[in-house]
């Protein structure tokens, strides 16, 4: 009976989360209609005339074969277009959503105000190391199993679920979980190391997970307004890349017995440049 209730609770949670998730995606379409742009023919800039004297046809092909086509000579615009060069978003009506209708929205888990960042290690990463060299997931999993076994030996208690844990074991476990998540996300995260000033492109993403490691809702940027409205286009992209990574990386292969520790995760995606 208890099991049934628990199951019900969990599933309700998933359902609620799903209902929160979908309507959000549905709105976006209307916010971003197609913007028409008038493209003016710029023959005078992009097309060029051959210098006088004319290139005479020559028998040998050493140079000739590089450029044998004649350059196009677009006509000038026949008439000035009535529509402005950069018009207002044209009302291209988005189709009605085929998505299911939203139900009542569930309050989403609220984060505490982000704490001051812990001093974090930023191991030097040379850009040359593009192919990531993080330990494989198998290694990490092997590691975590050993650690779990160790924790059990030390505490002497059989695992009774996520509520029971000693502080010391929890800290060790926390570090292990962090490693595991780091390594898992490294595969999905397209970082912004190749953008200018990548160390200014750190973004925080928060998300909740179900016990099976699937997302319980869409990941959110902690500082969404600042990131997505930033005048720095690279920051906006960094935010989207982080969201994409958190989404793409689901499900998260994390030990279910420590679910309470990882059911909510805040990830600070912070590209670190080799020379800093």
């Amino acid at each position: 009976m208890r099991g049934v209730v628990l199951s019900l609770l969990v599933h309700a949670g998933i359902l609620a989360a799903g209902l929160v998730y979908l309507p959000r995606a549905a709105q976006v379409f209307e916010d971003t209609p197609i913007v028409p742009v008038e493209l003016v023919t710029v023959a005078e800039r992009t097309n060029v005339r051959a210098a006088a004297p004319e290139p005479e046809p020559e028998p040998e092909e050493a140079v000739e074969d590089t450029v044998e086509d004649e350059i196009e000579t677009p006509e000038p615009q026949p008439e000035p277009e009535p529509e402005p060069a950069r018009a207002e978003p044209e009302p291209i009506d988005p189709e009605p959503e085929p998505e299911p209708e939203p139900a009542e929205t569930q309050p989403e888990p609220v984060e505490e105000a982000p704490e001051p960042e812990p001093a974090r290690e930023t191991p030097p990463v040379r850009p040359e190391q593009r192919r990531d060299t993080t330990p494989s997931l198998e290694d990490m999993l092997g590691n975590i199993e050993r650690q779990v076994a160790e924790v059990r030996r030390e505490t002497g208690t059989p695992d009774e679920g996520e509520r029971r844990r000693s502080a010391g074991a929890g800290d060790a476990m926390t570090a292990t979980l962090q490693d595991l998540i780091q390594s898992h996300l490294a595969r999905c995260w397209r970082n912004s190391l190749d953008a200018p000033d990548p160390d200014e492109l750190a973004v925080e993403v928060v998300f909740s997970l179900n016990r099976n490691g699937e997302l319980a809702g869409p990941p959110r940027l902690v500082d969404q307004a600042r990131v997505l409205n930033s005048p720095n286009p690279y920051l906006r992209v960094a935010g989207e890349r982080a969201l994409r990574a958190a989404t793409q990386c689901a499900p998260y292969p994390l030990p279910p017995e420590y679910y309470s520790q990882w059911r909510q995760i805040t990830v600070n995606f912070a590209p670190s440049l080799y020379s800093r």
Binding site: V28, T32, I34, R45, A51, T66, P94, V237, Q264, I265
Partner: protein
């Protein structure tokens, strides 16, 4: 009734659940390591109502796909894997169909041919993971401009997904190399689209033309030729085809030998002046040429050769190479010649500095031992230099307008002499590609973005 109860129970339960979860602090994780893998993107052929529109749509998709793939930042997915057939771009795509083939981004578009013959090209860029439209634009243009539209679409997609300006709607001027009937070397200026389309000669084979550079408005180039005997800087108006030797009278009025060399001239970012190395009695010195007053100001005075000047994007400083320290090294100075600072210190001969459009880096070539390399160094000389390519011969780096990609001349030894081609490499040293010139080519100059 039972169902209602169950729903209510579930609702309450989930509230409780959420409450419980709030008791637990979120697990904080710092992720500093990721990848620089290209973004998988699906680009189904742009849709169209007529045969003609469909065919043009397919052309446009091909150009966009090629542009994005060539950047190394995108991995277009093989269309054979596509599940959903996009017929109406105003319908929401079935994202799961695209996620299952690993597409993170999806570009859908349509081509309409208006009654007056003009093309309307509309597209939507979707994020399949976040299930959001990232961009929706529509271009209207004369039909012969379809390639430009395709490049503009590629630029828009590139910019939306990387945060930086694209560089696909650009052109490249270069030197087509070859040998004439009697084996004499031929060097003709040629121009083509960034992707190799629409090639054409700018100069004929009766004289050598070398070292082209673009003006900021992309209407003019400078180049060097031996038309007057000595290597001389020319200005070439791409619109009219008009050419003029730039400096002879200015050199005379500046008290220089008007028959002395003038070399590769680069425009200031405002397009109003040129930095150029001109031969003086004591060797080559950097000069500033004012295009309005047509006067030359001498910026360096050193008896050693100072050559290859290039402006910073703010126009405040100039980088050049000089043998003043013995071997050739790189130096920067203010645009009035003051505050000269050396920025390279390594072994070997550093030449061809070019300031990045972003401003933070300077590209160079270095000759050390038997090899040449292409590298970048911070403009202030701090930090270590990064080598992006090493090979038998490297010359004349040219930045893409967004500062992410470098074109350069690459030479490889062959039995009948060195073969020169233009290659590109990105700032991380990846995505090495040969530029699609037909024959031997060198001295690339990359135009600014064409609007």
């Amino acid at each position: 009734m039972t169902r209602l109860l169950a729903l209510a129970a579930a609702l309450v339960a989930s509230l409780v659940f959420t409450g419980l979860s709030m008791a637990q602090e979120p697990l904080r994780v710092d992720v500093t390591r990721g990848n620089l893998d290209p973004l998988p993107i699906a680009l189904p052929d742009f849709a169209g109502e007529s045969e003609e529109a469909l065919s043009r749509g397919s052309d446009i998709t091909r150009v966009v796909t090629n542009d994005l793939a060539s950047s190394g930042l995108f991995a277009p997915i093989d269309p054979a894997a596509y599940i959903e057939d996009i017929e109406n771009i105003d319908l929401r795509p079935r994202f799961s169909d695209w996620r299952v083939i690993d597409a993170s981004a999806l570009l859908v578009g349509s081509v309409t041919i208006q009654d007056d013959g003009r093309l309307v090209v509309a597209f939507r860029l979707w994020d399949t993971r976040l299930e959001e439209q990232l961009l929706g634009l529509q271009y209207r243009t004369a039909p012969e401009n379809w390639r430009r539209v395709a490049h503009k679409v590629a630029d828009a997609v590139y910019q939306r997904l990387t945060g930086e300006e694209g560089y696909f709607n650009t052109r490249i001027v270069y030197v087509a190399e070859g040998r004439g009937i009697e084996g004499e070397p031929l060097r003709q200026l040629a121009i083509m689209d960034q992707d190799g389309a629409n090639p054409s000669f700018l100069t004929d084979r009766s004289y050598m033309a070398l070292l082209p550079n673009y003006s900021p408005n992309s209407q003019e180039i400078t180049y060097v030729s031996f038309l007057e005997g000595q290597a001389t800087t020319y200005l070439y108006d791409l619109e009219t085809g008009r050419q003029e030797a730039l400096f002879s009278s200015a050199m005379r009025s500046a008290g220089l030998d008007p028959d002395g060399q003038s070399l590769s001239a680069r425009f200031s970012p405002d397009g109003e002046s040129l930095a150029v190395s001109v031969e003086t009695r004591s060797g080559h010195d950097i000069h500033l040429y004012d295009l309005r007053t047509r006067s030359l100001d001498r910026l360096t005075q050193h008896p050693a050769d100072d050559v290859e000047p290039s402006f910073s994007p703010d126009g405040e400083r100039i980088v050049f190479s000089s043998s003043r320290g013995g071997g050739s090294q790189l130096y920067t100075m203010n645009r009035d010649g003051s505050d000269v600072q050396r920025i390279t210190f390594g072994n070997g001969r550093y030449t061809t500095p070019v300031w990045s459009p972003r401003g933070d880096l300077i590209a160079f070539t270095k000759q050390s031992g038997g090899t040449f390399s292409l590298g970048v160094v911070r403009a202030d000389g701090s930090g270590i230099e990064r080598i992006l390519f090493e090979g038998y011969f490297v010359d004349t780096p040219a930045w893409s307008p967004n500062g992410r990609v470098l074109l350069f001349t690459r030479g490889e030894p062959r039995t009948d002499g060195t073969r020169y081609e233009i290659w590109s490499v990105d700032l991380a040293g990846f995505n090495l590609r040969r530029l699609a010139t037909g024959g031997m080519a060198s001295d690339p100059a990359w135009s600014p973005l064409i609007e």
